[in-house]
Symmetry: C2
Subunit: 555 residues, 2 copies
């Protein structure tokens, strides 16, 4: 089989206007970034039309080092739906530059299920991440300047909450001291940088309904505490306008195409631990406006990504999926079944059977939202027919359809079975009305406990003193109604990344609480959360070069 790069290079792209026309998107108002990428104006969103279309969420069992290929399956399913004659649009997150130069490489699918042109989508794209970085750092610079310029009379501020961001893996910037070298250089301050996907501005962009809503959200961001205990916001700083100006174009979703010329909206890319890990609600609504079927995904495993997709993204946007596709592989099931990583490509029935506990818990969780669940098996070359059969029988016994996906090797036709199954399930067995895990008027403590008990299977939920103090403050500020975004490891139902498979009745500790008043959620931190990745000893960057104007080694 050809490499990802060979497949991408040998695909003669269609002009994006052609892709748009096929999707019924009027081309007059597209804003082009060259021939193959365009921004679609917000005004084209029609929520009335969108409500008639079918939304499909792709999520996965708990992540392991084996990887499951969620993006590739999402792209493949979209291609498969188009292949069987349905009008389907895919809505995905944008890649960050950090992983491109770090460990992971690009994030535009793989094999015959890719989003193109990958060397543009992975690098700079339409500048959305750069705009978010600038907007975020403008707030930081203006906040520091406010404190500096008002130093004589006193700024009235304590507890500066706003860090800076950079779209780069740079561990040295995690914890820094700024303002050194004398008064002309500002006031010495403990500070730090997160990677751009961890920016609250990113979460805001992904949850905003329109420009007005984004303006409101930006204005509400709490950047510091006042000495009198009240929040100090971006509105108080007087710079909501310029922040919005920097994001005016970034809020519009980006249209690209798959290896089979199907439309894809790639827009926004928040972290899936300290943020909600889904592409923008705007892009999903735009996709639903023009597609009869829309495939979207949520980051990490279903306990993190899907839970936030439902309880945060769906709650804030009104989106309602008709079906959830839960992705599994023989390799990841074996890892959850206790098979050592070195042995997972060897046939191992018992390992798979032991791994079912993880799969079953995710199915149960997704059903708790009222979702019809369909299991997709992303087939790897080492899989035996017997192993596949074993998983299918297990699902059948639970009344769950299970379908093999071969889009990576075969493109849309390789996902035709999956696409047919999805369409049939939506027709014959659609999801029930969405049930959230908690209500708006539950206290944040109750919300966290409900997620921990229901979704993670935790026993006792413990709050640190720090967390309790911050929850009290949030209550005082009348923000108890916000949903919660739990930041925990993607490698386990628990907060311990080493506990694979199914974990039960563990103690679950919330160490800290952060308020993202602009994004509109309360972050509950369980365990150490890395917001700025580091680089490995041999970074991916070393593989990247430009040959005759083409970028090689990126994906």
């Amino acid at each position: 089989m050809k490499s990802d790069t060979e497949i991408a290079d040998s695909t003669v792209l269609e002009e994006i206007d052609t892709i748009a026309r096929k999707a019924g998107i009027p081309v007059e108002n597209l804003f082009h970034y060259g021939p193959y990428i365009a921004k679609v104006p917000l005004k084209l969103i029609d929520d009335h039309k969108a409500k008639k279309s079918h939304l499909i969420l792709v999520t996965a069992i708990t992540a392991t080092k084996a990887g499951v290929g969620k993006t590739t399956v999402s792209i493949g399913l979209g291609m498969g739906l188009n292949h069987i004659g349905k009008k389907a649009i895919i809505a995905l997150r944008e890649p960050s530059l950090g992983p491109c130069f770090g460990i992971k490489g690009g994030a535009t699918g793989g094999g015959y299920a890719q989003v193109l042109p990958p060397e543009r989508i992975n690098l700079h794209f339409t500048g959305d991440f750069h705009a978010i970085t600038s907007a975020h750092n403008l707030i930081a610079a203006q906040l520091d300047n406010y404190i500096f310029q008002n130093r004589a009379e006193g700024s009235g501020l304590k507890n500066i909450l706003w860090r800076r961001v950079m779209d780069m893996n740079d561990r040295s910037l995690r914890q820094i001291v700024t303002g050194l070298g004398g008064l002309n250089n500002g006031i010495p301050t403990e500070a730090g940088f997160d990677i751009t996907p961890a920016s609250e501005i990113m979460a805001i962009l992904c949850l905003s309904k329109d420009m007005e809503d984004m303006e409101q959200r930006i204005g509400r961001i709490v950047v510091a505490h006042r000495y009198n205990g009240e929040p100090f916001t971006v509105n108080d700083l007087g710079i909501t306008g310029p922040v919005l100006a920097l994001l005016r174009d970034a809020i519009e979703p980006n249209l690209v195409q798959t290896t089979e010329y199907n439309p894809v909206l790639v827009h926004g890319g928040p972290f899936a631990n300290i943020a909600h890990g889904c592409n923008s609600a705007i892009a999903t609504r735009m996709a639903l406006t023009f597609g009869d079927y829309v495939v979207t995904e949520a980051g990490f495993g279903a306990d993190l990504g899907a839970e936030k997709f439902f309880n945060i993204k769906c709650r804030q946007s009104g989106l309602r999926p008709d079906l959830t596709v839960l992705l599994a592989t023989t390799l990841s099931l074996k890892m959850h079944g206790g098979v050592p990583e070195a042995d997972i490509t060897k046939p191992n029935r018992e390992g798979i059977v032991q791994g079912f506990a993880n799969l079953d818990k995710h199915i149960e969780n997704l059903q708790s939202f009222g979702q019809t669940v369909l299991v997709a098996l992303n087939r790897f070359t080492s899989d035996t027919d017997e192993e596949i059969e074993l998983i299918m029988r297990h699902c059948e016994q639970k009344g769950i359809r299970c379908v093999v996906n071969n889009a990576y090797t075969d493109g849309g036709i390789g996902a035709a079975d999956l696409a047919h199954a999805v369409v049939e399930e939506i027709e014959n067995n659609p999801s029930r009305p969405l049930r959230f895990t908690y209500n708006d008027n539950d206290s944040p403590t109750a919300k966290i406990e409900k997620i921990a008990h229901t979704i993670y299977g935790a026993g006792e939920v413990v709050f640190s003193q720090k967390a309790e103090k911050k929850l009290k403050q949030i209550k005082n500020w009348n923000l108890n109604h916000l949903p919660v975004c739990i930041a925990k490891t993607q490698y386990s139902f628990s907060a311990d990344p080493k506990r694979y498979g199914l974990v039960k009745d563990f103690q679950f500790t919330i160490n800290d609480i952060e308020l993202n008043a602009g994004a509109g959620f309360i972050v509950a931190i369980a365990g150490e959360m890395l917001r700025m990745p580091g680089l490995p000893k041999h970074p991916q960057a070393h593989q990247i070069k430009v040959v005759n104007g083409k970028i090689e080694g990126l994906y």
Copy 2:
């Protein structure tokens, strides 16, 4: 008269393909950023054709707080040339985000001599500055990671020379300590951020001939010293490829239009003190390929901008201007004549006469390069006819043409006289062959002394011990052939910003030397150089807002 914003808003732009066609630029290979902005591919540069066209440099007398409107005059002259039937293209620098939110506001001209669309050119534009920021910071992250990953055996590096950049005015980032909080966060290091226009990557982009040349230059950047005294470069770090990949699109010049639909290439924007302060050589060569006349400008006054334009940009690129336009205003002449800022709008013959010394020195300097000089007077409403007459007579006595420019109020027709004069001078009295201030094989010390004596009018030139040590190192590395880029204040011929007018026989001290081996020059620092501006008490940002999708208050 309408405001800049009203004029820009009321101009119905032509599609950029129309602008390109009129200029004879093939539109098939343009890379569009919406309907009004496009990148022009490098392969269209034809140096043979370019050599037949006429290059005009716009520079100015020493900067004062009064401002002279150099960009507005450059745009106006280009419009004037088109107005009188010449095929003229303007080549300008790109604005930085920093000043947009700081003191100055945008940088796209003013009145009826603007470059459009200003709200895009001033914010994000085609992402060139963001690409340069990413490329610069990728080197920083990979360098820190190299030291971190090799900490056990030792990296062999000392004297880390590479800082980080951000396109923002943020004084707090000038001097920082990174890598705090334990070993996982790297190794504690003194570090800092410059604004993106101060990046060596910016200077490289602006001086590169093509992709291959840019690759060579990136590879040559010295990021640290080895313990054995040798340089450690980006090539040694093994990341020339990914840095080049990030800049692949940024190297192509950006085509936009004036308020009268004339073509403008806006590309690159290096500082004019610690870098050479001109738009990219690529853009100038592209403009000369398609225009019979090309108007370009150099930053700050002629002692800084024009000197570097000739001795660095022309030397490295082979560009040769046919004429230099030296810009003056009654206001700035009065300031140089010792009139207090508060009084410069009042008529004052004696003040202007006293200010001629500054004008005359710049004329003499420009003539030392072999240039035919034409003085342009940018007329302000407070100017009296008598004052204008006085300046014109002064120039006449020196055998220099002096023409009033009214492009700000009248557009191209207001610069028609200036345009006619420029064309006539080029025909009848063209510049002599370019004479550099120094030769490649002069020592760096001799180069600095020649500039200081000839251009600045300095007496003794003194080198600090630190500077001498670094010059010795440059000699050991066989880099004595590089040109020098003197970093000094723009407000005086001397290194003291308070010494207006003409200053003579002052002692000129070089405090420090920096090697920009990639850009291909040696920076000699005279006085304190700010590479990261701060914000004022009432930043421009507070004026900026988005109203019905339009950005207001930016320019």
